[in-house]
């Protein structure tokens, strides 16, 4: 499991690297997301992009990954505080915004969990370990929320079922059930590792089927790639969670 965990730690860097490059490619668009109170918006876009590229490379090459994970978790938490919460306070209660803000929060939690795992291995920083523990439960709660979304809001899901699969809604609900069960298992500390690994493998498969199909039909559509990378980050987060639970079992 340690080897698998390391592969997904490295894979976790791919979406970050892609998002970082996107900040430079679509700087004008991303600048629109920077809170209005910030001067020189384009500067913040490039800074964030550069930070994401650095984090992506750190995960992929497994160099300074602990620092990268901790900083990434902090940066995404700042996104939630400075972008998502003001939008929410401004009356943006739409389904897609809820999905996006919870996804950012989940990826932040995954980054902190990863920081906790790496910190544990290097036996330092108790604060990070504590943040990591809290993040584990936060990620579990978010899995339950994502799972419930599969039942309530099939337009903007975290785990999307390919359109060509027969009995599509069955798969949507099955995915939702699996997410809720995994979240609950982690929260009650029973079979959390097993359910997380199973959910991660399942998400990896349906993401591959869904996004592979979309990308094959719209190779040059940035939206498809962005959505694929977002879902990949969440899937890696599930595997990172599984890795965290394994590390805990070993250390007990």
């Amino acid at each position: 499991m340690k080897k698998i965990g390391e592969i997904f730690q490295r894979l976790f860097g791919v979406p970050r690297l892609v998002f970082g490059v996107q900040h430079f490619l679509y700087a004008d668009f991303v600048a629109g997301l920077v809170p209005a109170i910030f001067p020189a918006r384009i500067f913040w876009v490039y800074l964030t992009g550069a930070a994401m590229i650095a984090a992506g490379l750190a995960f992929i090459f497994n160099r300074k990954a602990l620092l990268a994970a901790a900083l990434l978790g902090m940066m995404l938490s700042m996104f939630v505080l400075l972008i998502h919460i003001p939008k929410f306070a401004g009356g943006d209660l739409s389904a897609i915004s809820w999905t996006r803000r919870l996804q950012d929060l989940a990826i932040a939690a995954a980054a902190f969990i990863l920081a906790g795992i790496l910190s544990q291995r290097e036996a330092k920083n108790n604060l990070l370990k504590n943040i990591s523990k809290v993040s584990r439960y936060l990620f579990a709660i978010l899995l339950i929320v994502f799972g419930v979304q599969q039942f309530l809001n099939p337009d903007f899901l975290t785990a999307k079922v390919p359109v060509y699969l027969p009995f599509r809604m069955f798969w949507v609900y099955l995915t939702g059930t699996a997410m809720v069960l995994t979240g609950a298992s982690v929260l009650i500390n029973k079979k959390g590792r097993l359910t997380a690994i199973s959910l991660g493998a399942f998400l990896l498969l349906i993401n591959l089927l869904h996004h592979g199909y979309l990308v094959a039909n719209g190779w040059h559509t940035p939206l498809f790639w962005t959505a694929a990378m977002l879902d990949l980050a969440i899937t890696c987060g599930v595997f990172i969670l599984a890795g965290d639970l394994c590390e805990e079992e070993v250390s007990l």
Partner: protein, 86 residues
């Protein structure tokens, strides 16, 4: 060459494919053009506001990149929710 190095290079290659894949085709449109009739009123209003510089951010992303496809697939209420004004 070590396995970890090969894995890293493979992942970098995947990231490159993802980035190059999305940049090779249609560029992100700077001007919002609306051709389809579905949700046209809403789309025109959004386009006019953007021209006037009132809109500084908007989702779904397709409204920037693929307005036709977006207008075809997205309900007006979903579009209206995601406009951020100065």
């Amino acid at each position: 060459m070590k396995v970890s190095t090969i894995t890293s290079l493979l992942l970098i290659a995947i990231a490159c494919v993802v980035v190059l894949g999305q940049t090779g085709g249609n560029k992100m449109s700077d001007k919002l053009t609306v051709k389809k009739t579905l949700n046209l009123a809403v789309a025109k209003e959004i386009a006019a506001e953007r021209e006037a510089g009132k809109i500084i951010g908007m989702c779904p992303l397709r409204l920037w990149t693929k307005p036709d496809a977006c207008i075809k697939d997205t309900k007006p209420s979903q579009v209206m929710f995601f406009i951020i004004k100065k």
